[in-house]
Symmetry: C2
Subunit: 167 residues, 2 copies
Amino acid sequence: MEYLEAKDKFISTWGSLGSLWGINKAMAQIQALLFISTKPLSMEDIMEDLKISRGNTSMNLRQLMDWGIVTKVLVSGERKEFFTTEKDVQELTRIIAKERSRREIQPVLKVLDDVSSIKDDGTDKTKELIKQTKALHDLTINADAMLNKLVTQKQNWLTKSIIKLLK
Amino acid sequence: MEYLEAKDKFISTWGSLGSLWGINKAMAQIQALLFISTKPLSMEDIMEDLKISRGNTSMNLRQLMDWGIVTKVLVSGERKEFFTTEKDVQELTRIIAKERSRREIQPVLKVLDDVSSIKDDGTDKTKELIKQTKALHDLTINADAMLNKLVTQKQNWLTKSIIKLLK
DNA sequence: TTAAACTTTCAGTAATTATTGAAAGTTTGT
DNA sequence: ACAAACTTTCAATAATTACTGAAAGTTTAA
């Protein structure tokens, strides 16, 4: 496999994966492109490489910056803006996990908490609703806490030692 | 909040959450409905409750059964089929994690492995592609292993002790 | 074997989500 | 203050994805 083929394969796979976990294709592809680029890219560069429109590029770059994954960089002597992404996978994971927790997990926790707190009128169905949403709430709390703890660790040794511990 | 309102809130939240992590709204809502139901439900019951068509119900129930989350149950004296979902959140998590690993993570790992294995032609961009896809591959392997180990544990004590360990 | 009771399939349609491209907006240098 | 270089916005449109409903298929009981 040649460089160009490998690059395309990586970008398109990353793109379709993205849509699977809540971000759209273009956004994931832009991030992928920046991730394997050796230098910051301009909007023009990205549009050309991925063959997407200026508007699309602009909007998705903004979203990536909102997520904190992509940042603008100034290239001296250039008027236009250049972009780069976090290159360290560990740090990238940390940012994404934190952001997803904030955007998705917290609102769900709120609903689960509200629902599991309704007045118990003594009927079976109410008891079941309370019981099951409480169980989901606890599980979600635990999973979220674990995720955050794990990804907060900058070093890899802890992760590795836990995996070992669990074998 | 009354039972009916709480129930609707739970089902619709679960439904929109579902579409966020790769299963469609109807599928997630059917699962949610079964999850808080005190007894198995027929296709008719589900259609009426969620106000969705027979076809939609049939297709999504099948998918849920493919995932291994929902099972048919025979109700004596009844001709039609009834459905129920796994009620234990721990077990539910285990099934979903395993299924998602198989469906999503493994194919991505394959691509990352292929891409990171291309011949190093000595150029910077090739080196970067190899380096970054390798890093992602390793991270993904670790995350997947950890996920599987964690959810394989049936008891909750281990999870709790790990969280403690990480504090 | 027939028909009633039930489930599945799938072509057509609806709903949702992503993308374009051109106009409006902004910044910078002279 | 002007205009060139660049970015953002957003209404229109395209692409994707989900849903319906009726016909076809299957199972069961008599």
